[in-house]
Symmetry: D2
Subunit: 388 residues, 4 copies
Amino acid sequence: MYTKKRKILAVTGARSEYDIISPILEHLQKNSEIELGIIVTGSHLSEAFGNSVTEIEKDGYNIISRIYNLINSNKKIGRILSLGNQIAPLAQVFEQWKPDIVMVAGDREEAISVSMTAAYMDIPVAHIAGGDIAKDGNIDNSVRYATSKFAHIHFTILEQHKENLIRLGEDEWRIHNLGNPALDKFINTKKISIEELENRTGYNLNDGQFGMLIYHPIITQIDSEGDNIKSIIQSLRKTNLIYLINSPNSDAGYANIVKYYEENLINDKQFTLFKNLDREIYVNLLRYSKILIGNSSSGLIEAPSLSLPVVNIGPRQRSRFNAGNVIFVDYNETEINNAIELSQSALFKEKLNKMENPYGNGESALNIAKVLFTLNIDKELIHKNITY
Amino acid sequence: MYTKKRKILAVTGARSEYDIISPILEHLQKNSEIELGIIVTGSHLSEAFGNSVTEIEKDGYNIISRIYNLINSNKKIGRILSLGNQIAPLAQVFEQWKPDIVMVAGDREEAISVSMTAAYMDIPVAHIAGGDIAKDGNIDNSVRYATSKFAHIHFTILEQHKENLIRLGEDEWRIHNLGNPALDKFINTKKISIEELENRTGYNLNDGQFGMLIYHPIITQIDSEGDNIKSIIQSLRKTNLIYLINSPNSDAGYANIVKYYEENLINDKQFTLFKNLDREIYVNLLRYSKILIGNSSSGLIEAPSLSLPVVNIGPRQRSRFNAGNVIFVDYNETEINNAIELSQSALFKEKLNKMENPYGNGESALNIAKVLFTLNIDKELIHKNITY
Amino acid sequence: MYTKKRKILAVTGARSEYDIISPILEHLQKNSEIELGIIVTGSHLSEAFGNSVTEIEKDGYNIISRIYNLINSNKKIGRILSLGNQIAPLAQVFEQWKPDIVMVAGDREEAISVSMTAAYMDIPVAHIAGGDIAKDGNIDNSVRYATSKFAHIHFTILEQHKENLIRLGEDEWRIHNLGNPALDKFINTKKISIEELENRTGYNLNDGQFGMLIYHPIITQIDSEGDNIKSIIQSLRKTNLIYLINSPNSDAGYANIVKYYEENLINDKQFTLFKNLDREIYVNLLRYSKILIGNSSSGLIEAPSLSLPVVNIGPRQRSRFNAGNVIFVDYNETEINNAIELSQSALFKEKLNKMENPYGNGESALNIAKVLFTLNIDKELIHKNITY
Amino acid sequence: MYTKKRKILAVTGARSEYDIISPILEHLQKNSEIELGIIVTGSHLSEAFGNSVTEIEKDGYNIISRIYNLINSNKKIGRILSLGNQIAPLAQVFEQWKPDIVMVAGDREEAISVSMTAAYMDIPVAHIAGGDIAKDGNIDNSVRYATSKFAHIHFTILEQHKENLIRLGEDEWRIHNLGNPALDKFINTKKISIEELENRTGYNLNDGQFGMLIYHPIITQIDSEGDNIKSIIQSLRKTNLIYLINSPNSDAGYANIVKYYEENLINDKQFTLFKNLDREIYVNLLRYSKILIGNSSSGLIEAPSLSLPVVNIGPRQRSRFNAGNVIFVDYNETEINNAIELSQSALFKEKLNKMENPYGNGESALNIAKVLFTLNIDKELIHKNITY
């Protein structure tokens, strides 16, 4: 008997969020009873952010639409205009492709534009990584909450996120706490020797005596980001390590950070700037790195799986669940240097070696894909807050 | 000493929602230390929905932008495209006019587009009528919740709405439960004699032996709305009253209802169709009406102030707080006729005559205007979910 | 040897323009070496204009996108906003589907939005029906010219249109004067007996003693259209014929005309209003009609093939090439009645019977399809005004 | 007697085009019977292109709207999406501000979006610099033509441009050939001594032994622009001059050029990169420069007023009217070096010293402002191609 395939449409708008959904996509792709489509948008399509759509193309997915939406402006208005640019094209692709489920992750423009558009069109939305509450005053918080209120099925990363969603009024049956799929990919990334890593990157890895710095701008403190990054760099100059520095993401304020890097670190042997490294290389760099510094979510979520110590500077990530490997400090050179020293102590390392990662067991993607495949799609799913 | 005026920008997109905010606008307008601007959008600007912008012009407000956004389609995609059309113009007007506060009411496209756009731009949003939970599965529910998650200050209508917002994670200090401002206007509407009313409308009011029918479409049951309205009309034919029927609002499905009216009620003496009546006339019609039938929010919110019995048919309004004047029934002719009979009984009328209206005391608008004027606008207001 | 199919993408936005391109589509569809895609937009997708997309679906074409763009407003701003709504979705569909040629016809919003978007993306544009010059001051004139300046290949309808395009600076090799494809379909429409026609429409055709009225609004005289249509109807009341009246198209001003019809002609036996008739029925009605009145292009272009006399009222169509069957008059009752009388005279009818239709020989569509298939697509085609 | 001021609304989207209109704005601003508004859009609002809106703010004009429209993409689709983003905000500002005349210059996205939007809304459009025909196959050609077909009044720069517009079917009375207003400003720029110039820029001007390079990308040869700029730089290395290099404009392909500069010229003493210099400094640099190289329009239009020799490389500007100071060459090192040598010969310089600039006499802006002020605004102006 012929049965119509289940049509699942994933939308991805940024490299970091693609890392979360791509392990799920792999499982969906293998399932011959699923028709999988991808819409690529956001910074994936901008040369200025590394044009990461090419990576998705390499992964071989069926890209059904490319939505060029990013407005070329560093001002606050830029993000909302970019969001607005997604709505009509999303709606018109949904109308045409007729997905059974739309999937989106995270708390950026794509999350809200996709979930809102699909919900208005009575298409079920599966949202990944809702329920988190970052106490940083960033608009992403409101976006994440609002996305959850439009979404019909939730895949949370931590038990506490699930509880938050229930408090927000979401039905418990809509919430599946299955961990972070990005971790699956991370844990299973092929190991590369440090020599090969040096060969492939061309970076001097200093016999492993290196750290990594990933610092993203915070929209509520755009004007001070130049000073903030300066404090950080000056602290790092006092340590014995060399550092690999990743470019910041595209939030308002990134230009101030990039400017500081370009004006101060070019041709400085202690610091090497990079952007959009091959994932395999990036993960292996983290594996050999002595420390991760900055305010990347990697420090909270992925570092525990590597027993990697983390110094997280400034308010970003503060309210995230800390497995125990992260030391939080302010933009203060003494604090930063003290934290780095502590993080490299024998005691701290011993503690990390015993730790398990509460963010996931490496099977999140498989389990999410199963739910997406077996989920009952009916009126009850679509019409939220209804009493029959 | 010169002090900059506080700039308040209200956005209005529909007749019914303008009724809620206009009493507040009146108070703001009178305050010489406030600069008030209005953005008009949505169905106000459509001839098909009565071009109600002319009423706002007559009210003499400073309209700083007209955003023509409504897509001419009866399909679900229409509403989300219309919403998307608002974002860029809103953002660009906000950027230019630089409001200190943006105000929006309700749970339709304007509510979410305005609150989201302003929140992304770090402009405080005052939202009126959040926290309500209609258990009807309509997208408006998700819109209302999501709007609250973007808004910075909430004016709720009922105490239970305030409690809902607190459960949703909103800070208590952001919530002001001040009742429904539409009621202020309603209560204070000038009385007109029934004779004058007949003269001004040209309607036969049958010595006061008339009822009113206001039935709006429900997006989740578009296809059956033709049958639903048929049941209702057939029930009404069995009563001794004549009826004035208001056009449905612009939700998907309205075309089915209008079609039924046009094909069946033209030249029928028991029924008179009207749209967008002058407010004064509309309120006075309600005053003399023996009953209000359909699924209008007026039945729940305003009718208690008139001791007007209401028969609410179908799921719409079901979960709203019932002051005691409303009888809820299904699309069933017997049920409808029984409810009408009950509503006209002496006992029921006696009960209504003793009732107070829990939706407001007639001073909501004044109190809301005061908060908007005195509200402290600072980082704490703007950055939600922040821990300092 | 495998050869990639030529991908041709047609965009259609209105019933009248679909009549022009659909005969070409039929030929393209039959060619197994062509992959044909259709984008449907504009009034095709509006219930208010008859939702004619269903007809395209019935024709069985591969609709690759539906672009809902029409803004619900009768004001001038409505058309340009509607046009603006098409650009991003068009661009994003072009980017994804990668047409070798895009085809569009006429002089309305779609013509300019499609040709401009494709030209910016270096996709060759084939434009049908350029080079016409209507001396009516309508924006369509500017649109038609501008479209020609973006288009890479032109299919004109009359020899004088080709000459106009050459004067406009278009290379002669880009211009193919092949007549109006709508005529092919028109001429070959199956004949229906007048009895069957009555049965299928339910209209009284009065033993063939009927005329047809098709009057479209003129954007430059919106305010007087109510009076204009009144003059016309009053003239028709003085004749012995009954009349079938088609709804006006969606240009600004149509509401005034529709309003007049609805207020004055409902239940009037001399007049029957209709909209979006089945094409077969429409053509056969014209065949039996004694006269066509109004300002439809049918009077100029198609009527000659039926030897049908036409009275064209007002400035619209004035500058169109008149095969000899059209009498042009002003909004003046005497003029209109005199023209009707003349048109029904034996002499006039004799002249019509001898006439050939200069607008096409019935093979236009086939010939256009051939050019689209064999056309050399190279840099010379794409880069206009280049000197190598 | 009170007379309403004439409201003129200028739209500007790029630095180079602002140079053309700003002299006109100065004259309009001084006229107390004119109300002048400015809409700023395009690259003016992008940090990546120097955020030149700040310059307009400094000039003190009444900016009534900022339209952030630029899509962050180097691909062809970027420009048309950016154009599409302008339409709704333009229309909505026009609707609100109600200009009597809209003014726009040039042949980029703003030209067509503004003229099309205004024309659809029956607002007269004054277009500056139409009628030029660059035989380079660039989309700008089609844009410039199409803009002229929407515009109601034309200010041309050369007599031959006026003739072209007449050939295009524009009424002669609509065309005013008054020269290039950018030249007015250019000619009257205050002189700065070479020493002060060095102080203010911090550049080494090498005792005046320097040239300037301004090379913009050509959309039809994006992929070869890296090689093209390489040939040019290698030629320049063989000369005795040092060079100041201006950043390319934002057309597709600019990233390839910038990449070459950044990878090859950083820390090279013969070359100094700059972007968006203060106009006064830029003009004075040209005054002392021995040669202008590249493909900037300055070489054709402004250089004649300075008797400055120009070597124009590649197809851009080829078809422009050459006053005699420009030597056109291909991307060929020998050709380039020969041309530089010729340009520095005594004979060539002598010829230049005798030359008058055919592009303008320095009073263009004043004369254009006069026409804009006195122009009769009536139906004849607005309804093009009408026969009364």
